[in-house]
């Protein structure tokens, strides 16, 4: 793990990169990294995030600044800007069931090629997918999902990079922290080693590549 400024971290992300972004309706999203992506005008991004949040919040900021070209999400109903950019084909949107979204990312981080889920069998979601029977029951083969970068927000990070998350801000952060080539983390508090007890670490230190240490916000 290396401690870096938010400017340095975002400078490493090229235009056109694929990013997993933690958070659920903007809760548990690394806002400072998104602000800096906007400031550095990183465009043509592929975003993998549960939702599009709302304008001005979380991933919504990237749609405000029209930096997104592809989005994989489960629901974008509360962001009219993201919807409009989908309708005008500025953004190619792939909407998938939330449990499938979680499992595909988990598979990507766990070395699995995919999982068999009953979700979506017999619906539009099944189109173009392999259907596989196990003990006579049909499942969809949903394949692993990875990204170049995961942008993760923790409640506590220690000086080694161990992370813990608070309440409903955990959501997709731990699975995304395993499913990207490079993991960049912001935290509400950076604390000495030992403050997070071993049993309470939710993302072990070796998974974290960069921890943002700018003191503000």
């Amino acid at each position: 793990m290396r401690a870096v400024s938010v400017e340095e971290a975002v400078a490493m992300i090229p235009t056109g990169a694929s990013l997993m972004v933690g958070g659920f309706m903007g809760v548990g999203t690394p806002e400072r990294l998104l602000d800096e992506l906007v400031r550095q005008k990183k465009s043509n991004l592929t975003i993998i995030s549960n939702d599009a949040a709302t304008p001005g919040k979380g991933v919504g900021k990237l749609f405000d600044a029209t930096l997104v070209s592809r989005l994989t999400a489960t629901h974008i109903g509360l962001n009219p800007k993201a919807q409009q950019q989908m309708l005008t084909n500025q953004v190619a949107v792939d909407l998938i069931p939330q449990g499938t979204f979680a499992e595909r990312i988990r598979a990507g981080g766990s070395g699995l090629g995919g999982v068999l889920t009953p979700t979506g069998v017999g619906t539009l979601v099944a189109e173009g997918k392999r259907q596989i029977e196990v003990d006579g029951k049909p499942y969809l083969l949903e394949t692993a999902l990875r990204a170049q970068f995961a942008l993760v927000h923790a409640f506590l990070a220690d000086y080694l990079g161990n992370l813990s998350y608070a309440l409903t801000s955990r959501n997709f952060n731990p699975v995304m922290a395993m499913a990207a080539d490079t993991v960049i983390v912001t935290a509400e508090h950076i604390v000495p080693v030992g403050v997070i007890a071993p049993d309470h670490v939710m993302t072990p230190a070796p998974l974290v590549d960069y921890l943002i240490t700018n003191s503000n916000g």
Partner: protein
Amino acid sequence: MDAQEIIARRVAQELKPGNLVNLGIGIPTLVANYVSPDLKVFFQSENGLIGTGPIPEQGLAHPLLTDAGGRPISALPGASTFDSAMSFALIRGGHVDVTVLGGLQVDAGGHLANWMIPGKMVPGMGGAMDLVAGAKRVIVAMQHAAKGKSKIVKQCNLPLTSSRAVSLVVTDLAVIGFPDGKAALIETAPGVSVGEVMAVTEAELVVGDSVPEMKI
């Protein structure tokens, strides 16, 4: 009693002590208002919480404790939090005893359509498909008709949420079940006759000798 209250009160009667329950947005959310705390029902919020409590008082909302819409929520004593993979392992794995969801259409075979209207903006299915695929019991809570058209249809012409049939439909006019895979009228709303239900229902309903009224 308005239509939504009839539905919410009747659905609440389906919850059993200790059940793990997931409520969708809209009418389903109202169900919690009619569940006695003595029942010790656990409510799950699919963004990662079991033990959701009421909307917090002014000044006591925490920005990292929210419902699936991102709105502040409270957590009861004994609550637990977890990541989204766990949240949907609970849902898909059959650990949620009851989910209550809104609906656009339910057909005579119990199939639900509730996530997409072709030609309109599609916001995404969120957790609905996993909930219908995985919860032990799926209860649809919705108005019986919209704009004068029955929402209990012969066959859904909107895209299905799941190929799995739901367990029960509760509307402002009736309770409909699917024994043997066929829609059956189980109860009528207070003051509503069987004939009145049949008149506004597109799907054929199996009707027994006597159909009781909801006791709400």
